[in-house]
């Protein structure tokens, strides 16, 4: 958001209901939508949702509208907060939610999915890389199972990972959702963030929220407008595709500026920096610190889970004394997993910081 605070007419503008005085905001959002399509390989993107949790819930509801069925399946590889939001939204409309466990590699259990999916299923939601950092390697098999049952494939993505990973379109994904915070939006204690939603053209009329489209004005010039508004609440009221009105337009513009500044080479490079530093750190943790890794033989992007010999919250407190926030204790979400920590490495963690982290881990473990 710091990027767009440079442009006061963006942030002090109202919703672009009057296109004749809002071409700048509208074109900027159009650029955002195009860049999201480039990144994901999808055909259309909307102008933004609040964040990933409600975005995933909106995608699930979209699958219910498109298929006319009322059963959603989600992998337990989803961020647990996403699953909580999903439960709230689906319960309100009496839509069934089934959760699929992970296999021993930390990937969605395809056999379990096969046994539980049926022609009654409307959509299946997978996250890649998943909450534990693991890259799902069987997306092709999952896609086949989903489409064989006439359900929709919903994939939650981590945008930066798409700098190197195969785009969702190549797995024939129907709806892409994801948290756009990593596209240059500050952490800000949890918000405002950016809910990404992109899909295939055939589903455009079931998209929730605003979409900006290109048009030709009276003088034959290119212009931009909010389009297909009959989907939306201000026209359709109770029959709208969603109630969303105010969205996260400024976050979307911010993400567009970020993606444009980096370009294809920059986004790939950031992804490679995240990937390589995370793999470097994990290897040193294994070799020098003798830490056990939870899913040691699985592929990962920039996050992984480590096992430590004591209660994770106590352990993290000791690292905190050395001015390190050493990761997220899994016990925060899974009561029985109280000796595991989720570690993330990004381009903002310098090699010196990683060195200090290793050194501190050694010191803390020695004391035990």
């Amino acid at each position: 958001m710091k990027l767009v605070s440079l442009f006061p007419t963006f942030y002090t503008a109202y919703t672009p209901y009057q296109p004749e005085i809002s071409q700048g905001v509208l074109q900027s959002i159009f650029e955002y939508q195009s860049l999201i399509c480039d990144l994901t390989g999808m055909e259309v993107a909307n102008a933004s949702l609040y964040e990933a949790g409600s975005g995933i819930a909106e995608a699930a509801l979209m699958s219910v509208r498109i298929t006319g069925k009322k059963e959603v399946i989600a992998s337990s590889g989803l961020n647990p907060e996403y699953i909580s939001v999903l439960k709230t939204y689906l319960q309100a409309q009496n839509i069934e939610l089934k959760i699929i466990p992970l296999d021993e590699k930390g990937e969605t259990d395809v056999d379990f999915l096969e046994k539980n999916i049926s022609p009654k299923t409307s959509g299946v939601i997978i996250q890649n890389p998943n909450f534990f950092g693991v890259i799902e390697t069987k997306l092709k098999d999952i896609e086949e199972l989903i489409h064989k049952n006439n359900a929709l494939f919903i994939l939650s993505i981590y945008p930066i990972s798409l700098g190197i990973l195969k785009p969702p379109s190549e797995y024939n994904v129907d709806i892409v959702v994801g948290e756009g915070q990593s596209l240059g939006i500050p952490l800000g204690f949890g918000g405002p963030y950016l809910g990404i939603l992109a899909t295939k053209k055939e589903f455009i009329r079931q998209i929730p929220g605003r979409i900006v489209g290109e048009t030709i004005d009276l003088e034959g010039e290119r212009g931009f407008v909010n389009t297909l508004q009959t989907r939306e609440q201000h026209i359709r009221r109770a029959k709208a595709t969603s109630n969303i009105c105010t969205n996260e337009a400024l976050s979307a513009i911010s993400a567009a500026v970020y993606m444009a500044i980096l370009g294809k080479k920059g986004i790939k490079k950031i992804a490679e920096v995240c990937f390589s530093r995370a793999h470097y750190l994990r290897e040193r943790m294994q070799k020098e610190v003798n830490l056990e890794i939870t899913y040691p033989n699985s592929h990962f992007f920039n996050e992984f889970v480590i096992k430590i010999p004591e209660n994770s919250e106590n352990f993290l407190k000791k690292l905190e004394e050395k001015k390190i926030l050493g990761g997220i204790p899994l016990s925060k979400f899974y009561k029985d997993r109280d000796k595991e920590i989720l570690v993330a490495v990004t381009e903002r963690n310098s090699l010196e910081e990683l060195e200090y982290y290793i050194k501190s881990l050694k010191e803390v473990l020695k004391k035990n």
Partner: protein
């Protein structure tokens, strides 16, 4: 002002250098570690230079209109000045770089702001407790309707009707659908108000909630609100306040005192946070005591010594989004409230109502004025 600006993809030139970035570690490159079928072959994002990006978006930002350029007379969607001090506070790196999972003992300041903003809004609206998860007005409506639904279900009631006046914002019925309710619209009377005699015909044991805004979307104060609240409660239904805009009453009247059970307020309207060309906003929901056990988790609490996140809300509806809400928006609203103080907030109401009535009198000879009575912060003209 009218000019055509190319799209980023039309400026694309693959030869352009990228901005300075750190180099990846050669030994750990993805192509050396991951199987080829997991990797993408190409990325079609355009490549342009940083200066071109800056010029591009600066040019685009000149093709628009915002509060910083001039007057924005847009009825209920108040477009008030967005104080620069708020932006400066919200851009402070101690806030922007704060991870939402920072341990509580290291995020006391942020938690305190959420807690105290909740106290301030409770005082302004006459409610008992707020949640800040809802990220916009419509999100707030949905959250409140889910709370009401859960409360009624606990009482063993399956009421499925939401009543809204015909003048209600389109989000009201859309939110009702998402919460699994059916919407019935009630006609306004010739005064532009909800008439208790008409309302009476629509109230029955299937009605879960009446959603109202007061002053309503025509800028008129619902004079019969106390009677309306009585009728709704007598029928066992609840009363919801769409507080998108409090500028007509802030400091003078409180929805809680009028009999409303739940409200949402839009921080991006009454409380000066910018509209951002369509968002982000924040639509916190306040409830009376008897509904507070249903609020989304986590809530922010204070135990006398420290602030903490409470995940043990007994009958919670669950989460409506990740983390705690649009914190940086809350920060701006809190700065605004603290800057103005009790007297300042009252004065904004006086100014809004006096200005709206002044303008109405000045313009009434040139337009048709369908509802000639004294208005609050907005009014309707037609011709």
């Amino acid at each position: 002002m009218k000019k055509k600006i190319p799209l980023i993809k039309e400026l694309n030139n693959d030869e352009k250098p990228t901005i300075h970035l750190p180099e990846p570690l050669e030994d750990f490159l993805p192509e050396k570690i991951l199987p080829k079928d997991l990797l993408r072959e190409s990325l079609p994002i355009p490549q342009i230079s940083e200066i071109e990006v800056v010029r591009h978006f600066t040019n685009l930002s000149h093709m628009g209109y915002g509060v910083d350029l001039g007057f924005y007379p847009l009825g209920s969607c108040t477009m008030k000045y967005n104080p620069k001090i708020n932006e400066e506070i919200a851009n402070n790196e101690y806030f922007t770089d704060l991870h939402p999972y920072t341990p509580e003992e290291l995020s006391q300041g942020a938690l305190e702001i959420i807690y105290k903003l909740g106290e301030a809004l409770s005082k302004i609206t006459g409610m008992d407790k707020f949640t800040f998860q809802p990220s916009a007005g419509a999100h707030g409506e949905l959250t409140a309707l889910l709370i009401i639904k859960a409360y009624l279900r606990d009482k063993g009631e399956n009421r499925n009707i939401v009543l809204v006046p015909d003048s209600a914002h389109g989000t009201n019925p859309a939110s009702a659908s998402m919460a699994g309710f059916e919407t019935i619209e009630i006609p306004s009377d010739e005064r532009g108000l909800v008439n208790p005699n008409i309302l009476g015909k629509y109230l029955n044991k299937n009605v879960a909630v009446l959603m109202l805004t007061n002053p309503n979307t025509l800028g008129l104060f619902e004079k019969d609100i106390l009677k309306i609240a009585q009728m709704v409660h007598d029928e066992g239904a609840l009363l919801y306040y769409d507080g998108a805009n409090l500028n007509g009453i802030m400091g003078y009247a409180r929805p809680g005192d009028m009999g409303f059970d739940a409200v949402h307020v839009n921080l991006h309207k009454t409380f000066s946070t910018p509209h951002g060309g369509g968002g982000p906003g924040a639509g916190p929901v306040g409830v009376k005591d008897f509904l507070k056990d249903y609020l989304p988790v986590p809530t922010v609490e204070h135990d006398g010594n420290k602030y903490y996140l409470n995940y043990q809300v007994p009958k919670t509806i669950g989460r409506v989004r990740t983390f705690y809400g649009n914190f940086l928006v809350m920060l701006k609203a809190y700065a605004y409230i603290r800057l103005l103080g009790d007297e300042g907030l009252k004065k904004t109401t006086e100014m809004a109502v006096l200005n709206a009535n002044y303008l109405k009198e000045k313009l009434k000879d040139y337009f048709e004025l369908p509802y000639p009575s004294i208005c609050k912060h907005e009014f309707v003209l037609s011709r």
